[in-house]
């Protein structure tokens, strides 16, 4: 504690090689504690990280299907039923943080063969589109089917960018991911609502505004937060679409 130097106190002069003996011992112990403390902290921090989920690119399971490209309002590929396999609707994203609006506009309404890589997390599948080509195909039996309204719902959860959450950048949610999610949505990646409860067994929803149109900057303040919001839910084959009325949105935490 003393600020008064004493004759017997060891005195360290940095540019001299000789270090007083009591200080050598003290500094050696400190160095060991410093290095060991950092090592222990690293082990504690690294080994207790939260589970980022099991999403990821399915590189070994390439996607190639013939279907119709639709804007709902984000690009989706609608694949007709085939035998026992019911019709499916896939959300689409481009390479990196890009959407596939151009391809969807260019091929709107005509059959296409779409190749890509699925990014998958549980029931949520986003296709990273590799190529889109016009295809010779005839769809019978009223395909594509209309969306089935499931009524108005109040959902709690988080708005994420669908691609990162599906596994491109795990965990792809939470405030630490907010800026990345913003950048993804600006680039055209479809937003998804990840709900804490489910609607007909599904807890993620492709998002649209209350009129079923594209969402814009009004989404940004709500992104990556735990919110409550009302809106109409409709079913598009196996995909749920949430027409969120953002004027009802409330940040919960």
């Amino acid at each position: 504690m003393s600020w008064r130097q004493t004759k017997d106190a060891p005195f360290f002069v940095g540019y001299l090689n000789a270090v007083p003996k009591p200080l050598v011992t003290f500094l050696a112990v400190f160095s060991l504690c410093f290095a060991g403390g950092l090592g222990l902290a690293a082990l504690a921090l690294s080994s207790t990280q939260n589970d980022p989920g099991n999403g990821g690119f399915q590189w070994g399971n390439r996607f190639e299907h013939v279907g119709l490209l639709e804007l709902r309002p984000y690009p989706v590929l609608r694949v007709p039923a085939d035998g026992d396999t019911p019709a499916r609707t896939y959300m689409l994203a481009g390479q990196g943080k890009r959407g596939v609006f151009e391809q969807a506009e260019a091929n709107k309404g005509s059959p296409v063969s779409l190749r890509g890589v699925p990014v998958n997390r549980g029931d949520l599948t986003m296709i990273q589109v590799g190529g889109v080509e016009a295809a010779e195909a005839r769809f019978e039996g009223g395909f594509p089917s209309d969306a089935v309204p499931l009524g108005r719902w109040k959902l709690t959860g988080e708005i994420c960018d669908g691609k990162c959450y599906a596994g491109a950048m795990r965990p792809g949610r939470g405030l630490a991911h907010k800026a990345c999610a913003n950048l993804c949505l600006t680039g055209g990646i479809p937003p998804v609502f990840v709900s804490s409860g489910d609607v007909k067994g599904r807890n993620f929803f492709l998002m649209a505004d209350s009129d079923g149109k594209l969402l814009g900057d009004e989404l940004k303040p709500l992104l990556a937060l735990y919110i409550e919001v009302e809106g109409d839910v409709e079913q598009l084959d196996d995909l749920m679409v949430f027409k969120a009325d953002l004027s009802t949105a409330r940040v919960l935490k």
């Binding site: 504690m1 003393s2 600020w3 008064r4 130097q5 004493t6 004759k7 106190a9 005195f11 360290f12 002069v13 940095g14 540019y15 001299l16 270090v19 200080l23 003290f26 500094l27 400190f30 410093f34 290095a35 950092l38 090592g39 902290a41 690293a42 082990l43 504690a44 921090l45 690294s46 080994s47 207790t48 990280q49 939260n50 589970d51 980022p52 989920g53 990821g56 990196g96 943080k97 890009r98 950048m169 795990r170 939470g174 405030l175 630490a176 907010k178 800026a179 990345c180 913003n182 950048l183 993804c184 600006t186 680039g187 940004k220 303040p221 992104l223 990556a224 937060l225 940040v251 935490k253």
Partner: protein, 355 residues
């Protein structure tokens, strides 16, 4: 001390200091990136880029915590003083580690987009009006910029070029950097799913840094207010009672507080007394906590030296500090509180041999 600015003048102490630092940092990163994941309870391993950015980010935070604790620890226990020596190396290494963290963030979260990385970083989240979802990246950028400026100006060339007061004021921004880092973490990583260990470490860091500074601040204030404070004991035409001869050990000093920013160190050596300002011309180190080595006052921080009678660094060095006049009445030391111009010769007071 040096008369010219050499890139690095190495000695064994510097090498050992840097080696310990490097080993500790390398150990931290190795354990975090290679060893820790083996003990994780996760469905799939954490992505490599995220693991590395977390490792480097948390390492920089802990290093900054230790850097800020060294100062008050050295005030509380002088055995920590050697850690002050080369603390600038510690700071530069922290800036490098923080820059690597930022680079991983840029290359991961702000990459793969048609938007330029740096534009994306600044424009992706601009919700500055809300606390939840506040662009915590801004605090990280501010902290990194401060750390980089401090690292770039850490060399003695800048100390000499800017002068000790400005250099010192500039480097006090380390506290702003720390505050920014705490906010960066508090509004970012800590808002995620509960991570009690990381939360506890950040809280412990804030408590430790604030607590140590609070304790040392109180200690200094108490000293300034103390009964022995010469400020209040003016006698004999402005002379100040500085204490008793026996209070001072040979080759050591007693520090007398004249006012908030003026302290005088009275040294006792070879049966003589001399008084100089307490502030070293190098980094305002506390000269009175140093010792007389080879006939010179030696600063405890970086070993800068001054002659006792005139406060001038021995040739070929050119630093000068203020001197003061002394008087001895019996065993009571009296001090003239008016500082003499730096480098002014004052005959030492002789009291007849070692005591």
């Amino acid at each position: 001390m040096s008369v010219q600015y050499m890139p690095v003048i190495w000695n064994r102490n510097k090498i050992v200091y840097d080696a310990v630092l490097l080993i500790a940092v390398a150990l931290y990163l190795y354990v975090y990136i290679r060893v820790g994941p083996a003990f994780e309870d996760v469905t799939r391993p954490i992505d490599g880029a995220i693991l590395r950015m977390r490792a480097f980010g948390s390492c920089a935070f802990l290093m900054l915590t230790v850097i800020l604790c060294i100062g008050p620890l050295a005030r509380l226990d002088r055995r920590f003083l050697p850690l002050l020596y080369n603390r600038r190396h510690f700071g530069v290494m922290t800036a490098v580690i923080a820059a690597v963290h930022a680079n991983y963030v840029l290359g991961w979260y702000f990459n793969f987009s048609p938007t330029d990385q740096y534009v994306a970083l600044l424009s992706s989240n601009t919700n500055y009006g809300q606390i939840l979802g506040f662009p915590f990246e801004a605090f990280g950028i501010a902290a990194l910029l401060i750390l980089l400026v401090l690292a770039a100006t850490s060399h003695d060339f800048w100390l000499s070029f800017l002068g000790a007061p400005i250099w010192k004021a500039l480097h006090m921004f380390i506290y702003a950097a720390y505050a920014c880092v705490v906010l960066h973490v508090a509004l970012g990583a800590l808002q995620g799913p509960g991570d009690p260990i990381f939360t506890a470490l950040v809280a412990a860091s804030v408590v430790l840094v604030s607590g140590l500074h609070f304790v040392t601040g109180r200690m200094e204030a108490k000293r300034d207010r103390g009964e022995q404070t010469a400020q209040a004991s003016l006698q004999e035409q402005g002379w100040v009672i500085a204490g008793d001869l026996d209070e001072i050990d040979d080759t050591c000093a007693k520090v007398v507080t004249l006012s908030d920013d003026e302290r005088v160190a009275i040294f006792k050596y070879d049966g003589k007394l001399s008084a100089i300002t307490n502030a070293c011309a190098h980094q305002n180190g506390p000269l009175g906590e140093g010792k007389v080595l080879w006939g010179c006052i030696t600063c405890p921080w970086h070993g800068y030296q001054y002659n006792l009678a005139d406060g001038r660094a021995p040739a070929p060095f050119t630093e000068k500090i203020s001197t003061y006049r002394l008087k001895l009445v019996g065993s009571t030391i009296l001090l003239d509180p008016n500082a003499l111009p730096p480098g002014t010769h004052v005959n030492p007071i002789e009291f007849g041999g070692d005591s």
